[in-house]
Subunit: 296 residues, 4 copies
Amino acid sequence: MKVGFVGLGIMGQGMATQLIKAGHEVWVWNRSPRAMEPLVAQGAHAAADLGSLLAGVEVVHSMLANDQAVRQVWLNDTALAGLRGKIHVNHATISIELVRELATAHAAQQAGYVAAPVFGRPDVAAAGRLNILVAGAPEAVALVRPLLEVMSAKVWPFGDVPERASITKIAGNLMLASAIGSMAEASTLTRAYGVSAADFLDVMTRTLFAAPAYQGYGKMIAEDHYQPAGFAMSLGYKDVGLGLAAASAEKVPMPIAGVLRDALLEALAAGDGELDWAALAKVAAARAHLQDRRKS
Amino acid sequence: MKVGFVGLGIMGQGMATQLIKAGHEVWVWNRSPRAMEPLVAQGAHAAADLGSLLAGVEVVHSMLANDQAVRQVWLNDTALAGLRGKIHVNHATISIELVRELATAHAAQQAGYVAAPVFGRPDVAAAGRLNILVAGAPEAVALVRPLLEVMSAKVWPFGDVPERASITKIAGNLMLASAIGSMAEASTLTRAYGVSAADFLDVMTRTLFAAPAYQGYGKMIAEDHYQPAGFAMSLGYKDVGLGLAAASAEKVPMPIAGVLRDALLEALAAGDGELDWAALAKVAAARAHLQDRRKS
Amino acid sequence: MKVGFVGLGIMGQGMATQLIKAGHEVWVWNRSPRAMEPLVAQGAHAAADLGSLLAGVEVVHSMLANDQAVRQVWLNDTALAGLRGKIHVNHATISIELVRELATAHAAQQAGYVAAPVFGRPDVAAAGRLNILVAGAPEAVALVRPLLEVMSAKVWPFGDVPERASITKIAGNLMLASAIGSMAEASTLTRAYGVSAADFLDVMTRTLFAAPAYQGYGKMIAEDHYQPAGFAMSLGYKDVGLGLAAASAEKVPMPIAGVLRDALLEALAAGDGELDWAALAKVAAARAHLQDRRKS
Amino acid sequence: MKVGFVGLGIMGQGMATQLIKAGHEVWVWNRSPRAMEPLVAQGAHAAADLGSLLAGVEVVHSMLANDQAVRQVWLNDTALAGLRGKIHVNHATISIELVRELATAHAAQQAGYVAAPVFGRPDVAAAGRLNILVAGAPEAVALVRPLLEVMSAKVWPFGDVPERASITKIAGNLMLASAIGSMAEASTLTRAYGVSAADFLDVMTRTLFAAPAYQGYGKMIAEDHYQPAGFAMSLGYKDVGLGLAAASAEKVPMPIAGVLRDALLEALAAGDGELDWAALAKVAAARAHLQDRRKS
């Protein structure tokens, strides 16, 4: 199939690569053109601009950073006109409000909007082992599903309303934030009693919490080392914000998310926006003034 | 070895059974004598009272329900005198304050106090597959370690200060409560958008959160079914209380634990104290008034 | 002076009336024209549209409901062009983000932007006894200050940066929300012990908390009667949202505001958006399941 | 009347003085005898010990620091026997749990237990202008009411169940803590926008919040000066703890109190236990890292 891919950051690179490997004719476009080079080297075609990319494909994937980037690339007359009669598979984690705007704008162009947010870090994307949540009109989803399968360990269908895939991703990220926040608090408690975070989290992440989410972030907390960031505090703050905005729109109280919001803000205020969000453990330790104690 | 076991609830049954199977001469005692029968049938000796049990053993294990039961059985002159020169292995999850009192009272009798709290449900105890945290004087721990090993998948040493094993258990329970609270909140959010808790938690507990703690409680939340309780709300409230008391004693702010405390209290106020603590999902759903909505 | 007044809701009515009484030539405009009638009856001139109003005045006041209304009326080329060389006194409680946009847009037209949010209910506005916070360019503030004085018990200057008056109003509203939330929680506690909210709040609001903010809302809570709303729950939710957004922009953790947000959301989810926000006491009582108890 | 007064700290001094001035025969006793001297100088009689004090009076007031002191002085066989047939007026702010124990123990001696907690600082006590909450058996309350009146601006009756006066005091203290916490958060927000705490709180405490509770603590926050403590952070932590314990006993979720608990703990962890609890503003400012900013 002739497939477009827009947004070639580190995640997009890995995902587009899978499409090429699977034998599709992949057209790529990225605001900064250098990012296209590695894909062209693997057989992709570089489009001169978004318009010409859209002209030549049936399906276009995009993996952009946030609401702002998605708005800028897609919510304008040229881009929307270019999508007429085509299917857009949006992998970005964006606000429910924007999903709704996009779905409406696509429908007005008889374009299909498929929400397909992903779970997985860049190395997982590069290995074609993402978990992809998908929702959209049944025919559109049926058409793009083989494309999603080449990028993923598993595709998880969430029906025909795009925002349902999006809310699942957003809620999943809240669970991740909670897991980190919980390790941060609990390990601060044990440290105050002389049990190191490493010893405590070693037990937990090898028994009851023997899961990727805990093991990866738990290791950072155990080592008190948060760079390079796998997922930056500032992005974590943005994602918890998407959760709280979605909760607000449908009137769902979320007190744990509220606590996490404040802890993330405190990290940003401390100038730690570029650290991995596992550094929530630094916030918990600072509040307990652990550094002023003799123990641990 | 001649070993005593006091406190033959459903956990104690499974644990004492392992000691018998391993060939030890096991003496049991329980306030309600009927609980001794199944163990006697397996070869244990029933003691007439705690004093006579203590007179005949080197090491005594106890697995009592809470601070109150532990105080009643152990913090009196007779029991403490009976412990003189022996080792007491306390498996109960109790307050740090009580651990400190016990350690002092045992020391005054030249008795060894070994804290050995466990992770695992009754079925895990029955299978001899618990995870046991242990801390106490090195010689005492060395002596009892083979006994712990027959009950456990793994023994995790936490040094020579008993409260360090205890705080690790307490902090681990806070992580469990947080995991449940997090699933409760996040699945309430997805439900408000038309994604069932079952569909949402299916993805999460098979990917990022593929761990026992999430899978067991996640299943209850997915099915909205909280009886029979594996671990009752009222016990969860007690355990979060142990965490907050320990945090208070060492001045550790724990906002997530505070949020969980309020949700557990709300469940108790609703009369749901006997449900499994996974029913925190009911609290989250009630706050969002999900039952009054058309969706999900 | 020739003065315009835009936005003639119940607050605007009272405020514009003071300007008329003080002898100014007041031109009014309102989207729904009927609201102009009572003012015309008092001597105001009704403008045909915003453009013609702006053409004839030096200073224009506006008192619109929220960000959306302010954006719609003022952030368009016609309105902004009409403001050229004039001074706009904005009394609405709006987001800091919008204040910044407005200040920039006004500056581009050599128009003066004066932020002048107010404290006071409609009856206070009608009596010309508001407390008005004011900030903006010194000459502009000096020019409009006499106009503010006729509407107010006191004018409180906050310097030359408009957003400083705005943040003061927003922070003041957070204090109001906290006061209500605090009475809600505390009176739920006393009720659980058999002391009615009326008896409890009677002591408090006649001693330590003998202040308007507590007496007015305290009376509603004591009587458990929240209609008609002096300030609706939905507006309270909006205002706490302004506070949290401002906190986010400058990275200020606000855990009490976060708790209030969730309680307000819970009230909205319960369908109580039209009640006075003193009905936060209903939320607190529902969480404690007070209605299922014998006491109080 | 022959009246005893036990517990002559700075509050007790002022209160006992009023009884002497009113012409009663006042017998005093205090663990540290020097505290009796100023009262003896005013005409009081110093008792050799608690027993001889009790032997000579009909009514005994006590104003002790906390649960521990009250337990030590009153919950022993000698003291209780000495109370037989007499009335004990307890002014201390103590836990509901202890109130219940005391009421039971007094009843067993046919002694009357009157709970009479007070609102007011030492200077207010010295001026005989306290607000006193009172609850207990009607005859007992009737008998002691004239004594309370000489110490107070007003006596507030709360019926015949002693704990109802106690819970009212505890809930009132939670409202005070909330008021401080709210000023702390809100003034941190305005400071982040360049509005000083002094300018912000000046408006608030002279308008909507023109009440003693806000003006006293607001002044400390405005001046960022928390010594000498009128009411120390460590006592504030204790009192919020009484509130949370009472809430727990009757299953009342109190999320604002939970937030305050964590902020108070953070202050204690920072070593600020001896500062006035208005220093919650320091905690809020530290979380926002205000000291690292250029503004305010």
